[in-house]
């Protein structure tokens, strides 16, 4: 049940912000500070999520094969690889390192 609550909240919230943006009269959210915060907020969240999902298992910090996979994804991004390849490289390297006993 708690999962459905989370799904419903996320679905409604995410839809409403999309609709709000598409329907808001021009100028409402155009204040410089609001725009800067809107651009910077996903940067902070995505960086935090990347770190959390790479280096933690629940509340515990850890270093395992996933770190190698994500590092490989970073290299792929620097080399301007397409999205799907970046994800594929991360998965393949993680699986490879685990298979080797990492």
């Amino acid at each position: 049940m708690t999962v459905w609550i989370a799904i419903a909240l996320t679905a409604v919230g995410c839809y409403l912000v999309k609709y709000l943006g598409l329907s808001a009269p021009a100028g409402v959210l155009e204040r410089p500070l609001v725009k800067r915060l809107a651009a910077l907020l996903p940067v902070a969240l995505l960086a935090a999520l990347t770190a959390q999902e790479t280096f933690s298992d629940g509340p515990h910090l850890m270093l395992d094969a996933k770190a190698a996979g994500v590092a490989a994804a970073a290299v792929a991004l620097v080399l301007r690889a397409p999205f799907l390849l970046v994800v594929g490289v991360a998965v393949a390297v993680t699986a490879g390192v685990r298979a080797l006993g990492g």
Binding site: T2, V3, W4, I5, A6, I7, L9, T10, A11, G13, C14, Y15, V17, K18, Y19, G21, L22, S23, A24, A26, L29, E30, P32, K35, R36, L37, A38, A39, L40, L41, P42, A44, L45, L46, A47, A48, L49, T50, A51, Q52, F55, S56, G58, P59, L61, A65, K66, V70, L77, P82, F83, L84, V86, V87, A90, V91, V93, T94, G96, A99
Partner: protein, 280 residues
Amino acid sequence: MAEQTEIRTTERAPAPPPAPPAKPDSAVIRDALGVGIAVGLSGFAFGVTSAGAGLGLLQTCALSLLVFTGASQFALVGALAAGGNPFTAAAGAFFLGARNAFYGLRLSAVLGYRARVRPFAAHWVIDETSAVTLAQPDRRSARLGFTVTGLTLYVLWNLTTLVGALGAGALGDTDAWGLDAAGPAVFLALLAPMVKDTVERVAAGLAVVLVMVTLPLLPTGVPVLVAALAAPAVLLVQGRRERATGAEETPRTPRAGTAAPHAPGDQAEELRHTTEEDRA
């Protein structure tokens, strides 16, 4: 005969080519399909991740059908898998989805949809459709790009989510396949194009430090929300510094007088100006 033909062709050749009227539809469709297919297929990774996180088939598919913004979906299932409560988990996903409001603002000027169409178009307002749409030179191409990217991505993302969720059981231990690395790789791939200057690098770095320090201390789901505070914190410090030293010394303002911040997609800013001029 041959000579004559040759002369004719040389006569024709110097004529200047007609000014390109607009981007051909086929080029727009090609761009849109490229993005739609590549990202749409990664719904498989989401399906597997979500099933691996313990969500049911219906729950996993509901997320892709109803939330339809990848980063928020990955964030939500990650938080739930870690045992976070539904409200902090949804809050993290929601804050991540809030950027779509700002894409919507830009898109509404470019697409110019009527009020009746907007509730439907809104569901497709995400990173990828915005990137394709805002890169188009005119409204016709923008609408085509938006529709083709949105449709391709929506259909594929949901189909591959289903396949991934069904396949997760057959794969057995998804960690052995390295599929737990898909989530962070998706986040990193979304993050990379957003980090362009010092302010963004500092915000990203601070967020990483905040989440790492608070992870062992705070309830699951909360550390990511704490890390989000890196954004206002960095803006606050930057604002103070700008006031103290004067605008010309700040790294963010390469040209004097252009204090314009860049929200997602620099080219979008330029495009918006041109479309506004067109309409004027």
